[in-house]
């Protein structure tokens, strides 16, 4: 990597990868490397965030991301509270901004937010005093997923620049795809999106990607094959005709994978639909698939994000909107 890490991370929140500089990304990845090692020790705990409060506010169900953030916070010594829609007053009709006001009065230091609506996390970030981390907003961004993907790739390939990354599947609805496109492009990788036109957002090429409708062409000489999850409800004639047709033309199997480089890595943000977007054999191929490694990197990357953001936390002031 010939980009030097930025000395400081100049942002209060992490809302997306769009707009992050290469140096800032390198800073986060370098910091995460250290946490990978720490997480492999018996004693995984640090005191960096001792006394800090982290609230995980999830308006959308999630197991792995929420658990990953929870572990990250706890390993850095923070007190972590999980709030999910099912148990909060959202069900009673409280608006997002009212919830933000209530929460900010409790003086958290970090809010980790997932929301079904694009832009909701940014709106919330404007109303609270603490650092906000976007854990996925609608079809917009999921920056920590892109960072963990980048860390996984960098550890395996030694670099990001110059790699060919094929992102395949439901790009239209995917925040993971958007965050990866921004991050990987910034880092000098060639990003391709591979999907039927019904699963591509309009003018996606304007994001700086190559667009392919055919898997063999899209995977040709790729270093990284990144598969996306296709929601089951989108598969019965609405966006694609059926599961079996999708698997036939867009499911990753060894035949299609043969177009990629022989040492191409297979990634998936999870949870996987085996037999829909990915052949179970390919998904479980220990030589090619880094899907479990991605999960491990997830915790380290989230620790790195909490780390750098906590250093920018403001001195405590009066309660209320800024």
């Amino acid at each position: 990597m010939n980009v030097a890490a930025a000395a400081v991370f100049p942002h209060r929140h992490l809302l997306g990868t769009e707009g992050l500089s290469a140096g800032e990304i390198v800073l986060l990845l370098d910091r995460a490397e250290g946490y990978v090692e720490q997480n492999r020790q018996v004693d995984k705990k640090q005191a960096l965030l001792r006394g800090r409060t982290q609230i995980n506010l999830f308006y959308e169900n999630s197991t792995r991301t929420r658990t990953s953030f929870e572990l990250a916070g706890k390993r850095l010594g923070a007190d972590v509270i999980n709030m999910s829609v099912a148990t909060s007053s959202i069900k009673k009709g409280e608006t997002l901004i009212d919830t933000a006001m209530t929460l900010t009065a409790m003086r958290p230091d970090v809010l980790v937010v997932r929301h079904t609506d694009s832009g909701a996390v940014e709106l919330l970030s404007q109303k609270v005093d603490c650092a906000v981390i976007n854990a996925g907003d609608g079809s917009h961004e999921h920056p920590t997923q892109a960072l963990l993907d980048a860390l996984t790739i960098r550890r395996r390939k030694g670099r990001l620049q110059g790699l060919i990354v094929a992102i395949c599947g439901d790009i239209l609805h995917s925040r993971v795809a958007r965050s990866n496109i921004h991050l990987l492009s910034t880092m000098g990788a060639t990003v391709r999106v591979v999907a039927p036109p019904t699963l591509l957002p309009p003018q996606v090429a304007r994001l700086g990607v190559e667009v392919h409708h055919d898997m063999r062409a899209g995977l040709k000489d790729a270093d990284i094959v990144m598969m996306l999850r296709l929601q089951l409800e989108r598969m019965n004639g609405a966006f694609v005709p059926s599961i079996r047709e999708y698997f036939r033309f867009y499911g990753l199997d060894y035949e299609k994978l043969a177009s990629a480089k022989p040492d191409a890595l297979i990634m998936h943000p999870g949870p996987m639909n085996r037999g829909v977007e990915i052949d179970p054999e390919v998904a479980d191929d220990i030589d090619r698939s880094v899907i479990r490694e991605q999960v491990e990197m997830g915790v380290a990357v989230r620790m790195a994000v909490l780390d750098v953001l906590s250093r920018n936390l403001p001195n405590l002031g009066p309660v209320g909107p800024k």
Binding site: P196, P197, T198, N236, G237, F239, P241, E245, R248, F249
Partner: protein
């Protein structure tokens, strides 16, 4: 391998523009040679010689739109009867619509139909598979798998796809594979309950009307979706002058659109309904004389690309009904060529253009290797007597159903010989076709 030399023919090949006296040599199932000077030194000794008597030898006709009724309604038509009728009409390839029982919306159904056609058919049968599952206009079918099974395009047949969002997605998906989508052009909310063309005749007969605007809005919507998705689109059967104008505009924009017209829409107008003649009830309906003339003009200028029979057999039961309850449809295989030739005899459309609309253009749209006289192509041929006068006698048609409003019509020209893959599947003289007896 068996060789047959067609000598003393007038070769007509719209794809290359060839129209000249000459000969053509078939070996096995392929055309191996042709040209004006072929056989100048006599036909090859080992070949069977067929003297064409100076008649027109053209690529076999490709009919892009036909309802074969098998499976499910074999009392109306079967693959055997339909393909015999097609052969008698000079047609060597028919494209079956998916509106059968069951509906052709599964890859296995496409394969079934192909197998049936191989076993029982005498001409080639291709299938357009359903665009939406169960033709219900809600969910798109497995276009990729259906095409792998052999489907040559996608359509809901005589059902217009009403849901624009679905059609947009289906068109968009189809661009992945460059598939052809053929739609029945009609806004169903405007045509609902209509029995015949809206206008004076409908008013006098007291029948509810199908206004031209239903076709105009249906087509304009489709063309806008094509502009947005860049899909390959075929307006499966147009009937109004408004549609011709809309197509001309879309073509001027460079869109990959094509359109077909059925012979009844350039050979008849709404007055053919006379006193509630249900045999002339068809969808889209017979229109005004101005519309009919627009069809002829559209073919002359090439805005209308294809002539397709829209062969739609109905039994007596379905037609011997009060007009409003009668089924729609006209059989078309055995009347397609003579009715098309009326446009040539009347001086409206040049012979090459007329045959192009039934050979080279459908082949190109469907990506078929037939429809051309060229070395190496499948030997699908029709020998046409252009001028012989005769009268349609529907009772002697080979179709199982007899629903034609053209019974007794005096026409000129007829298929003499129909050849599919080198094999003669129809010989008018041998079969004592009523055109010749």
């Amino acid at each position: 391998m068996k060789r047959r030399a067609y000598v003393n023919a007038r070769l007509l090949d719209p794809a290359s523009g060839l129209d000249a006296p000459g000969g053509l040599l078939v070996e096995g199932d392929k055309i191996v040679d042709l040209g004006p000077r072929l056989f100048n030194d006599g036909a090859p000794a080992e070949a069977e010689v067929r003297d064409c008597g100076g008649h027109l030898l053209a690529p076999g006709l490709i009919d892009m739109r036909a309802y074969l009724r098998e499976p499910g309604q074999e009392h109306k038509e079967t693959i055997a009867s339909a393909t015999r009728a097609a052969a008698a009409g000079g047609i060597t390839t028919v494209v079956a619509m998916p509106n059968t029982k069951p509906i052709i919306d599964e890859p296995a159904m496409v394969e079934f139909l192909a197998k049936r056609a191989r076993e029982r058919g005498v001409v080639r049968v291709h299938t357009m598979a359903a665009l939406t599952r169960g033709l219900d206009g809600k969910d798109m079918t497995e276009m990729g798998l259906l095409a792998e099974a052999g489907a040559v395009g996608f359509t809901d047949g005589d059902h217009a796809v009403a849901n624009s969002r679905l059609l947009l997605r289906a068109m968009s998906y189809a661009t992945t594979f460059d598939f052809l989508i053929a739609n029945h052009v009609e806004d169903p909310t405007l045509s609902e309950g209509g029995q015949m063309n809206s206008g004076e005749v409908a008013t006098r007969l007291g029948l509810s009307g199908l206004p031209w605007i239903a076709e105009a809005i249906g087509l304009e919507r489709d063309l806008r979706l094509v502009e947005y998705t860049r899909c390959r689109y075929h307006a499966a059967g147009i009937s109004t002058g408004e549609a011709v104008e809309a197509l001309a505009r879309a073509k001027a924009k460079g869109l990959a659109v094509s359109a077909a017209v059925a012979p009844h829409h350039f050979a008849l107008n709404e007055t053919a309904l006379g006193e509630y003649r249900t045999f002339a009830k068809v969808s889209p309906p017979l229109r005004s004389e101005a519309d009919r003339r627009a069809m002829v003009e559209g073919l002359r200028t090439g805005v209308i690309d294809v002539i397709a029979s829209n062969h739609a057999p109905q039994d007596q039961e379905g037609k011997r009904q009060p007009f409003a309850q009668a089924r729609t449809g006209i059989i078309g295989f055995e009347t397609l060529l003579p009715l098309a030739l009326e446009l040539f005899h009347g001086g409206h459309v040049a012979l090459l253009d007329l045959f192009r609309a039934m050979t080279a253009t459908p082949a190109k749209l469907l990506k078929l290797p037939t429809g051309r006289l060229v070395k190496g192509a499948p030997a699908d041929l029709v020998l046409v007597d252009l001028t012989r006068p005769w009268r349609f006698d529907v009772d002697r048609f080979r179709s199982k159903s007899k629903n034609s409003p053209f019974d007794g019509r005096a026409v000129q020209g007829h298929a003499l010989l129909t050849v599919v893959g080198g094999k003669i599947v129809f010989d008018a003289v041998k079969e004592r076709s009523h055109a010749y007896v």
